[in-house]
């Protein structure tokens, strides 16, 4: 199994690799588009600002490689900013055109209640849609989030996971082989590790 983690200078990608290693899964961190194209599983993580992330993806040709692996049917898992960049447009950094693999926009949380803090940081329960294969838990389980922006898919049916922070927001999307989560499975304890394992095993 050739598991590839995309390295595009967006924060600490090694935490995903460490989590996989604890599951006995070897992975390769690469900025090389051709290595990404040859992968059996692609993980697209990300921490950072949308504008610099997109600039890095474009300058390395990783943007095209992501389109290619999604079209080729390779299982792809986006995480956090890696999820957000899949959409058409982000409101971050004054507005950024993103990968446009999924239709929709990325918006900032607008707290109406003083007690609602942004960034949305911490453990929040996630409700998965019926039949979503990355749901591994039998009870409602919190996962670890840290973000100020959230995805708003044009096509509601893409949403396969939901959470709530003042408003209900999209915590996960899926379209065929492409799946993405707003939370960090690599930092979500045993439940997060089970999700990663399920993705790698592809059941």
């Amino acid at each position: 199994m050739n598991v590839v983690i995309i390295d595009y200078q967006a924060g600490n990608v090694t935490s995903v690799q460490r989590a996989l290693a604890s599951l006995g899964v070897e992975s390769c961190i690469t900025p090389d588009p051709n290595v990404v194209r040859a992968a059996d599983r692609v993980i697209f993580p990300g921490v950072g600002a949308a504008a610099s992330c997109m600039a890095n993806l474009r300058s390395t040709g990783l943007d095209q490689a992501l389109h290619d692996v999604v079209n080729a049917g390779t299982p792809v898992l986006g995480i956090c900013v890696g999820m957000q960049l899949l959409f058409s447009h982000s409101d971050e950094d004054g507005g950024v055109e993103c990968l446009n693999i999924l239709p929709g926009t990325v918006k900032r949380f607008q707290p109406t209640d003083q007690q609602l803090k942004v960034p949305h940081m911490g453990w929040n329960p996630v409700t998965f849609s019926e039949g979503e294969s990355l749901q591994t838990e039998t009870v409602l389980t919190p996962y670890y989030f840290v973000h100020s922006f959230y995805c708003s898919p044009t096509d509601e049916s893409l949403t396969v996971a939901r959470s709530e922070h003042g408003i209900e927001f999209c915590a996960g999307v899926r379209r065929d082989n492409l799946v993405a989560m707003q939370f960090h499975p690599e930092k979500s304890g045993p439940a997060g590790l089970r999700l990663l394992q399920r993705f790698v095993e592809g059941t």
């Binding site: 600490n12 460490r18 921490v47 453990w123 929040n124």
Partner: protein, 256 residues
């Protein structure tokens, strides 16, 4: 709904968890990775590792601890102590920490907050602050003053104003430690915790004074904090993280 976090803080000296004891200096408690694993298994939401040494030699021991924790513990953790510049931040983040915490160096040079947030994102930058109750004056209208250097040096700066400035400079979170209640186990300083929590839009961690589960409940309800930090409560086996969280859940606090 976002759950309230229970965070355990581990002071690390020469690669060992250590605890300051009055008149006796520090007592080493054991391997930080062992402690981290134990709390992880008990369901802790986050960990903080505080490097209480300064020497370069011990610094590398500390980085080794951070790397070992990152290989075994799959929850967020932050690192504080001795972080004075962006290069040091980068070193601990690359070693596997999620966030860095800056305290006195941020008061002396607030620019470090902005520089860190620009380099790594605001969510990586925790501003730690030690607040002490004082007479309300024109310079310190909140009645809480920022003290630095582990509580030894008063700054004349208002704690509430500093929290607001830290947020505007790019901090992603504030860890508010009350000097008066720290180590006394009589409960958190709820007044300043509530003031800061109401005044900023970023998460606030209450620190200093946690001795019973009720103290944590008070911190996240009356105090309005998003998280509560504990140390000796669990280090000596008086409580487990699991038992504390069970009591919090019983009281109606959303927890993981």
């Amino acid at each position: 709904m976002l759950t309230k976090r229970v965070i355990v803080c581990l002071d690390v000296r020469a690669g060992q968890v250590t605890k300051g004891v009055k008149f006796q200096g520090n007592v080493d408690l054991g391997d930080p990775v062992e402690y981290a694993r134990r709390y992880y298994e008990q369901g802790v939401d986050e960990l903080v590792f505080y490097d209480i040494t300064a020497s370069a030699e011990q610094r590398s021991l500390f980085i080794d601890v951070v790397e070992r924790v990152a290989a075994e513990i799959f929850i967020p953790f932050s690192v504080g102590g001795g972080i004075r510049d962006v290069d040091t931040m980068r070193t601990v983040l690359l070693a596997g920490a999620e966030k860095v915490s800056v305290n006195s160096p941020a008061v002396r040079n607030p620019e470090i907050i902005t520089a860190g947030a620009e380099a790594f994102g605001a969510q990586c930058i925790v501003v730690g602050m030690d607040a002490q109750k004082v007479e309300t004056t024109k310079a310190i209208p909140s009645g809480y003053e920022i003290v630095i250097d582990g509580g030894r040096t008063p700054t004349g700066q208002d704690a509430l104003a500093w929290a607001i400035e830290a947020e505007s400079r790019g901090a992603g979170e504030i860890c508010l430690n009350a000097i008066d209640t720290d180590g006394v186990k009589q409960g958190y300083e709820l007044t300043i915790t509530r003031m800061v929590s109401d005044a900023v839009g970023i998460p606030v961690i209450a620190s200093g004074g946690g001795g019973t589960p009720q103290h944590l409940i008070d911190a996240v309800t009356t105090g309005g904090a998003d998280a509560a930090l504990i140390a000796s409560m669990v280090h000596y086996g008086d409580y487990t993280v699991g038992s504390i969280k069970a009591d919090m859940a019983q009281a109606g606090v959303p927890i993981r």
